[in-house]
Symmetry: C2
Subunit: 178 residues, 2 copies
């Protein structure tokens, strides 16, 4: 248990807040904790037949284009299910047929409170994508087996995407002839 | 591609730095990006016989105790392999027999450049744990199968831990009688 005995609010931006806390530790000593506050997000392992619906986008912090499951930040007052439907439709133009919760993960619990609710769903095409202004996201359909290979050979490196896909297909892609 | 045309350094702390960038997007418009810089980390899926060696610790940002694979931040000038050996020994008292790279993941590429190098290794007990001052980490041995169940039923929620364990045992824990 670590108890905050002092909080400094350093930054409040569009996506995140930064706080610095002084905390008491279990031996009575004190330490500082830098904490990034985030509103939370939702991601969807979206399956269309034998394919996975992923999105490709440039990620500024790591300066590269990444292949990820569709995802987005929770709006104020929005439920995770509503957010999943909205983000999937905006980024890909697809709608879910049967949203099912897979997991809620913490991405970096050492310095951030960001959680991501991950859903699984069969999806179907509904309309053209309608991303937010300034958002450049390309939907990509990839064979499920190929996507798993892209995880094991290091082409897919996003933690929510790895967690979501491997959780969704746990035990379904193994070679039972071993 | 997003190109930085202006950088504001907001905070530089013990664990992270915060920058705010103005970037040009592919349509020529501009946007702001909040970026958390992190030195990177290493984590180890550590196997002792049929058990996984995990660590339990309180995580201040999410205000709960979490079960994770042993991990820690890279020191300046330290290689990921050196960091893996050091953190495993400090947190658990175990040493690796055969470090093998599993993956390098990005934990939150939307707002942070944190990467985690994940290794797999058979491990053996060498000495008592010697955690850093102010670090309270409890080593826990858990059956591999039980750890995977703790992922699917939501008791293990840390993204590097889910990614690492599922990658290490991909295709090895399925029920081939289906």
């Amino acid at each position: 248990m670590e108890l905050s005995i002092g909080k400094e609010e350093i930054f409040s931006g569009r996506v995140l807040k930064l706080e610095k806390h002084t905390v008491t530790l279990q031996d009575g000593s004190t330490a500082s904790r830098e904490v990034v506050r985030h509103s939370g997000a939702v991601a969807i392992v979206a399956v269309s037949g034998s394919k996975l619906l992923l999105v490709k986008q440039f990620r500024f912090p790591v300066q590269k284009s990444m292949l990820e499951i569709p995802a987005g930040k929770l709006d104020a007052g929005e439920s995770p299910e509503e957010c999943a439907r909205r983000e999937l439709l905006e980024e890909t133009g697809y709608i879910p047929k049967d949203l099912r919760k897979l997991a809620t993960i913490e991405t970096s619990p050492g310095f951030s409170d960001e959680i991501i609710h991950i859903y699984f769903s069969e999806v179907e095409r509904f309309q053209d994508p309608s991303p937010d202004v300034g958002e450049f996201v390309e939907p990509v359909l990839i064979d499920t087996k190929e996507a798993i290979e892209m995880i094991t050979d290091g082409q897919i490196t996003d933690s929510k995407t790895i967690s979501g896909i491997l959780l969704a297909f746990l035990g379904k892609e193994s070679d039972c002839d071993d």
